[in-house]
Symmetry: C2
Subunit: 349 residues, 2 copies
């Protein structure tokens, strides 16, 4: 199973809206198809969005109509503006596009061919770094897991959400290989059911004992101490350690704190945004009401009702036991550690 890959002349990605029923791949040479796939969650997960955006930019400069370096940079500029509009919360998207922009502006480029190579090389570097980061996230994170643990996770943070083995789910995968995982409880993650559709599918393929629960049942699982730790990803980490992650993360964090169960955030440093001082400054995307009123195309709610559907929520740093990055484990207070870990990317935007 490959979430996203570069092929000669195109990008190949798995349409995650079809899972778990159908493993359908899309191959395209049109960057707008990739952008639409990000917007419509055929490709999702903060790191995977960053990788996909890089490849989309590489497609944009390969149009046969582009003849000069200036034309390539103009086309790229339009493509970046389009791709930036796809999803507002995951900072990995902007981080990736900033890297592509910088690569395309390098003084050393001589002609369109050079620029195409440079953009593609940068996109592939983003992917390779993500794969490597996942390996290291897995090892650092697994060191926090006690043998025989049952774990709780929310949404999908696995191979489907990254170019590698995943962030929070990558930690679970690594801990499972180390024989430490007894069972994983998976929040179904309404409205789009990434837990039920994607995480369960990944965990069963890995041979990990898995129990699906509704999102509100997580409180009971924590209250009864049925798990020993909670692991989630992040779509953006603010400078003070507040995080934006899939809606439903915040109540799990509060309940975990109440029941003294460790709550770990697992994300590559590309998710850290030092320009965002606290969680309150993170823009939160609101999704279409039909995602709540309809399930599988069938209306479940009474006609005519309004819907409030933020895609993400903010978890204040006080509820986070540790933030795991590819460089190691940060403990509260997170500010100084994040300033160091996110240093490389801190001036990107």
């Amino acid at each position: 199973m490959v979430t996203i890959a570069w092929e000669e002349g195109g990008v190949r990605f798995l349409d995650q809206t079809r899972l778990p029923h159908e493993e359908r791949y899309v191959v395209t040479s049109d960057y707008r198809v990739v952008g639409k796939a990000i917007r419509e969650l055929q490709i999702r997960g903060a790191p995977a969005i960053g990788v996909a955006a890089g490849f989309a930019a590489a497609l944009a400069v390969r149009s046969p109509e582009i003849a000069t370096l200036d034309e390539a940079r103009t086309a790229l500029s339009a493509a970046l503006a389009y791709l930036e509009q796809t999803r507002p919360t995951a900072v990995n998207l902007f981080r990736a596009l900033d890297r592509i922009r910088a690569a395309a502006l390098a003084q050393s480029l001589n002609g369109v061919g050079d620029l195409r190579d440079a953009v593609l090389r940068e996109a592939q570097a983003i992917m390779e770094e993500d794969i490597q980061a996942c390996v290291r996230l897995g090892l650092h994170g697994a060191s926090l897991i006690l043998p025989g643990s049952a774990l709780l996770t929310h949404c999908n943070t696995g191979a489907l959400a990254t170019a590698g083995q995943g962030t929070a789910l990558g930690v679970i995968t690594t801990a499972h290989r180390q024989g430490k995982v007894r069972r994983v409880y998976v929040d179904e993650t309404r409205p789009l059911l990434q837990g039920a559709r994607l995480t369960v599918w990944e965990l069963l393929r890995l041979g990990i004992e898995t129990t699906l629960i509704t999102d509100s049942t997580a409180a009971t699982v924590l209250q009864r101490h049925m798990v020993q730790a909670v692991l989630v990803g992040a779509d953006r980490i603010a400078a003070n350690g507040d995080i934006a992650n899939k809606v439903g993360t915040y109540p799990v964090a509060v309940l975990a704190a109440r029941h003294e169960i460790p709550f770990y955030v697992v994300a590559p440093t590309s998710t850290i945004d030092l320009r965002t001082p606290t969680g309150e400054s993170i823009p939160i995307e609101e999704r279409d009401s039909a995602e709540v009123t309809h399930i599988g195309g069938v209306r479940v709610a009474a006609e005519g009702v309004r819907v409030f559907s933020p895609a993400f929520d903010i978890t204040p740093n006080e509820f986070i036991s540790a933030i795991v990055t590819e460089n190691g484990i940060l403990r509260p207070p997170f500010g100084p550690g994040l300033a160091g870990a996110g240093g490389k990317g801190s001036s990107d935007r």
Copy 2:
């Protein structure tokens, strides 16, 4: 719209599993059809379950094969044993069946006709008391609501859940008539979507501004202070004020406390069970896994996964700002007030 009613020769009830798409009524003279309707949630809501159980018992003693008082009592005994098995958590069910049993054992009964009349009279009394209790719950509860309030509720506690206007939703209805309700946020209430399917349907019919949210979005609504109070019902209230209510109530209560938003429990005294000392002693029903893995008959989760699906959760009394009964408003510590309020029913079981 009538949730449940006695008609000559039968019980008429609304099949709530068809809502909001279809308003389908069932008329039956077979008490097992009513019992099955309780088990399968065609009839649900703690007070409505009590009323339905009473009418089911009245049907059981009307079989034409019953000729003597002894035969009637034997048939009733079997019916009560069957009905007690339908759902374990709502104490209103057991309370109603105990009242029916006592009525059927009265020394004064002379013959089958007398017994039939006595059982039906008791069932109708249970219904009438519930209707009256809802009116008084509404008035007491509405006194807690500030003008211009937005409110949050979970599951369905309206006319569909009772013989009257509802418990928590009855308070909202009364406060709306008093012009105090700006908007109601409704948790969809997975897995069976009683909020999205039933509460939204009721609120829109009442002309109340309604916003549907996923269950985990409630945390964001509370975090942003988008509501001024939370109102929920209860399936059982223990002697210390701990409550069992629809799964997902507990996390909302914890989040409301964190954000200093009042959390009100609204339930008739028939929901109080003084024989249950604390929430930990309340039996929690577990539902079928297909309710989580399938939505509207369509599988959403990957094949082969286990499911943990408790129907209710326990909210400790420390998170409850007030318990509203038909007799008034109880404030913490709840023990003494509940002992008084639930006195009448406290020796029923």
